[in-house]
């Protein structure tokens, strides 16, 4: 699922901490979210992985800890929180 995040600055810290949550290592590969450049317009796109496959680990909302790591480290946590919540809601549907 892809979401528009207009106030994302593209630091991709969320990717690294998500990767850490899954594997204790830092890699874009192991992240359940990917921050993508947009072809036009402001901000970045946030892609959240829904399904597991050979290379991707799906987002489970960090259900085993109090605050999802991406939110803990994001400088625009309010916006990202809305995205994560929408993702969770749509995934349940």
């Amino acid at each position: 699922m892809i979401f528009d995040m207009l106030d994302c600055g593209g630091c991709k810290t969320c990717e690294l901490v998500c990767s850490f949550h899954h594997t204790k290592e830092f890699s874009h590969q192991f992240s359940s979210l990917k921050v993508l450049d947009k072809k036009s317009g402001i901000g970045y796109q946030i892609l959240l992985i829904e399904r597991e496959d050979k290379i991707n680990i799906p987002c489970n909302g960090c259900k085993d800890i109090e605050t999802p790591l991406c939110l803990k480290y994001c400088g625009e946590k309010d916006t990202l929180e809305k995205i994560i919540n929408e993702f969770k809601r749509k995934k349940l549907e």
Binding site: L6, D7, C8, G9, G10, C11, K12, T13, L16, V17, S19, F20, T23, K24, E25, F26, S27, H28, Q29, F30, L36, D37, K39, I42, G43, K72, Y73, G75, E76
Partner: protein, 644 residues
């Protein structure tokens, strides 16, 4: 405990010879123990491998790219890549850092550094995709701006998310102050490293990696990172930097009388001009988006602006930082408020150091003012202060080496020696490199700039706290070990402050940490002991604080020795410009202030003393080098008569 190969470091240095296409790998850890990372490793390789007669543009020169040790992790501000070489501006050590995505990708691909040797027979680019490293034809990109290059390569490789570092026409044309640009902006600006890249026919480097970086003590590491971010959230300095980048210093700079106007003739701009070009207003008016970089705990100091009116209507670009505003906009007396954005964008597109532009065009405009040169020299252009159109025209001429631009492309020092006519006084440079830093009125900032081993420059030891508003004085005294860190006009104690900062700056560079996250920018931010804690948690290497600092001092001394091998620098090259020594500040809050050269020299004596360098010559003495494990360097310097 020592560094284990698979913690923080990627483990490999890539060596690429563009002359014969040979690509090989060697271990980072052969160097890391004594040289830490990126810029430290680079100076060691450059010192060892470049013969004294090598010149910057020949194939024998080496261009070394290094990703900081902490890149690839979410360590605060960990996105700085370093580029080091024998530089054409000073003829000695050239080194420049920039934010980059490429540095992080390089780590994920498995490499800490890349050594570029030789010269390709035609334009090439380097493609790094994990283990696959190729030298590919770049003829179709040669001549393109950095923005065009990025767009074209993303289209060609059908990957809209590729990140690159590239040179523009300035690098291709060996403009002496050519830079290397990250994507569309953020620059490896200083020293003419872009010209060295151009001399090797190397257009760009692309890196992609799907690997991972591990740290030795993951939970401790992440706790530290989180704690620093929580502290940053309370910091006023961080808040200002987040909102306006370094343009946030405007009001302070006016108050402390430190804004270059008309090529250092004045140290403040007229009040009406200040109102007209107030940069925070420009940002607020045209801001459309943020820009951050990996690991940034400031939440990004960048802003994208879209200008919808005025002479540059339609321009969409990242906003410039302070240096462009002061070294081009105010230095050349331009009153159009959006000019700073336009000139920053143009310099990024063409790949030229904005400090070369400020220095060379500033010299030229003052010479025109004083009738030392006229329209016969300048291809018919009237080089009047404040003429934005002329400045943009000159930038293009410089980058394409056309007409008068061909002379300016050499930097102000060489341009002045080409033109002669006693114009050298107005060519503000240190060790041959165009000067940005205003050196009157803040002696710590001044001393750090003049003694910089890379030829002027404020990120190798200069301090900013002397004039900082809301300085935490007690913390500053503790950090610097002096009683007067808040007294810019005093000469005492500055040498000690510079020593601390020389260490911090180098550790930042080696670890890849952005200076603006550290005590350089605000004494309450990250300092050297904290950096050591992060380094230890990342690598597992339990190194003592004194040994950690010693690595930085070792690096500084090797830079110094490298300069002694390749240039004629000595004490005379650690002085401010003649203008800054002779002239008093004419207007502003420091009107009437004049440098006391005797006190400056005493301050410089003290600087040499605490560094263990000879006071007359500035050369390191044998004991200093031996204590740092550089006995062989002492032998080298003795052979050429440059041991202190």
């Amino acid at each position: 405990m020592s560094i284990k190969e698979n913690y923080a470091y990627a483990g490999n240095i890539l060596r690429i010879n563009l002359s014969d296409g040979k690509i090989s790998k060697e271990s980072t850890l052969d160097y890391a123990k004594d040289w830490l990372g990126s810029s430290g490793i680079a100076i060691k390789i450059l010192y060892d491998e470049l013969k004294p007669w090598v010149t910057p543009y020949e194939p024998a020169n080496k261009l070394i790219f290094g990703a900081g040790v902490l890149l690839g992790t979410p360590a605060p501000g960990a996105n700085k890549m370093n580029v080091s070489t024998l530089g054409p501006m000073t003829g000695g050590w050239a080194s420049s850092c920039s934010d980059s995505y490429v540095g992080c990708e390089l780590k994920y691909a498995g490499y800490d550094s890349i050594i570029i040797e030789g010269r390709a027979h035609q334009p090439v680019y380097i493609w790094i995709d994990n283990d696959n490293v190729e030298i590919r034809d770049a003829s179709r990109f040669w001549g393109k701006t950095t923005w065009e290059t990025l767009e074209l390569i993303r289209k060609e490789l059908k990957n809209p998310y590729l990140h690159i570092i590239s040179i523009g026409p300035a690098g291709e044309n060996l403009v002496r102050g050519a830079s290397i640009i990250q994507d569309r902006g953020r620059a490896f600006g200083r020293g003419g490293i872009g010209a060295v890249m151009g001399s090797k026919n190397l257009k760009m480097i692309i890196a992609k990696g799907t690997g991972s970086i591990k740290v030795a003590n993951p939970n401790k590491f992440m706790d530290m990172v989180l704690k620093i971010r929580e502290n940053f959230a309370q910091s006023k300095a961080v808040e200002n930097t987040h909102k306006y980048g370094t343009l946030s210093v405007f009001s302070t700079k006016r108050k402390v009388c430190s804004i270059n106007y008309k090529n250092f003739q004045y140290y403040d701009i007229p009040d009406d001009m200040a109102l007209e070009i107030f940069p925070l207003k420009t940002i607020d008016k045209y801001e459309i988006a943020k820009q951050s970089f990996p690991g940034c705990a400031i939440n990004g100091c960048g802003r994208h602006l879209y200008i919808n009116e005025g002479p540059y209507a339609g321009l969409k670009t990242e906003c410039n930082q302070w240096e462009v505003f002061e070294n081009i906009q105010t230095r050349l007396a331009i009153r159009e408020p959006t000019f700073m954005l336009k000139v920053n964008a143009l310099c990024n597109q063409l790949g030229v150091d904005i400090d070369l532009i400020g220095g060379a065009v500033g010299w030229a405009m003052e010479c025109f003012q004083r009738k030392i040169i006229d329209e016969n020299d300048t291809d018919g252009l009237k080089l009047n202060w404040g003429d934005a159109g002329v400045v943009l025209e000159l930038i293009k001429k410089i980058c394409y080496r056309e007409g008068f631009g061909n002379i300016l492309a050499e930097g102000c020092a060489r341009a002045a020696s080409i033109i002669g006519r006693n114009s050298e006084y107005y060519a503000l440079n240190i060790k041959g490199q165009d000067l940005y830093e205003p050196c009157r009125g803040a002696m710590g900032w001044c001393l750090g700039t003049t003694t910089s081993t890379r030829g002027g420059g404020h990120t190798t030891g200069a301090v900013t706290c002397e004039s900082a508003p809301d300085l935490n004085l007690e913390k500053a005294k503790l950090v610097y070990g002096v009683d007067n860190p808040h007294k810019p006009l005093e000469y005492e104690g500055k040498a000690k402050m510079i020593l601390y900062m020389e260490i911090l700056h180098r550790i930042n560079n080696c670890l890849g940490v952005c200076h603006f996250h550290t005590a350089w920018w605000d004494v309450d931010l990250i300092d050297v002991p904290q950096l050591l804690d992060i380094y230890t948690a990342a690598t597992g290497d339990k190194i003592l604080l004194d040994d950690f600092k010693k690595m930085a001092i070792r690096q500084l001394n090797l830079e110094k020795a490298f300069n002694l091998k390749h240039t004629n620098f000595d004490r005379k090259d650690d002085l401010p410009t003649l203008r800054d020594i002779q002239e008093s500040i004419p207007t502003g809050s420091l009107a009437g202030w004049k440098m006391d050269i005797e006190k400056y020299n005493k301050m410089l004596d003290e600087y040499y003393e605490i560094h263990g360098w000879d006071k007359c010559t500035s050369f390191p003495i044998e004991k200093t080098l031996v204590d740092l494990g550089l006995a062989e360097v002492a032998v080298d310097l003795k052979k050429i008569g440059k041991l202190g």
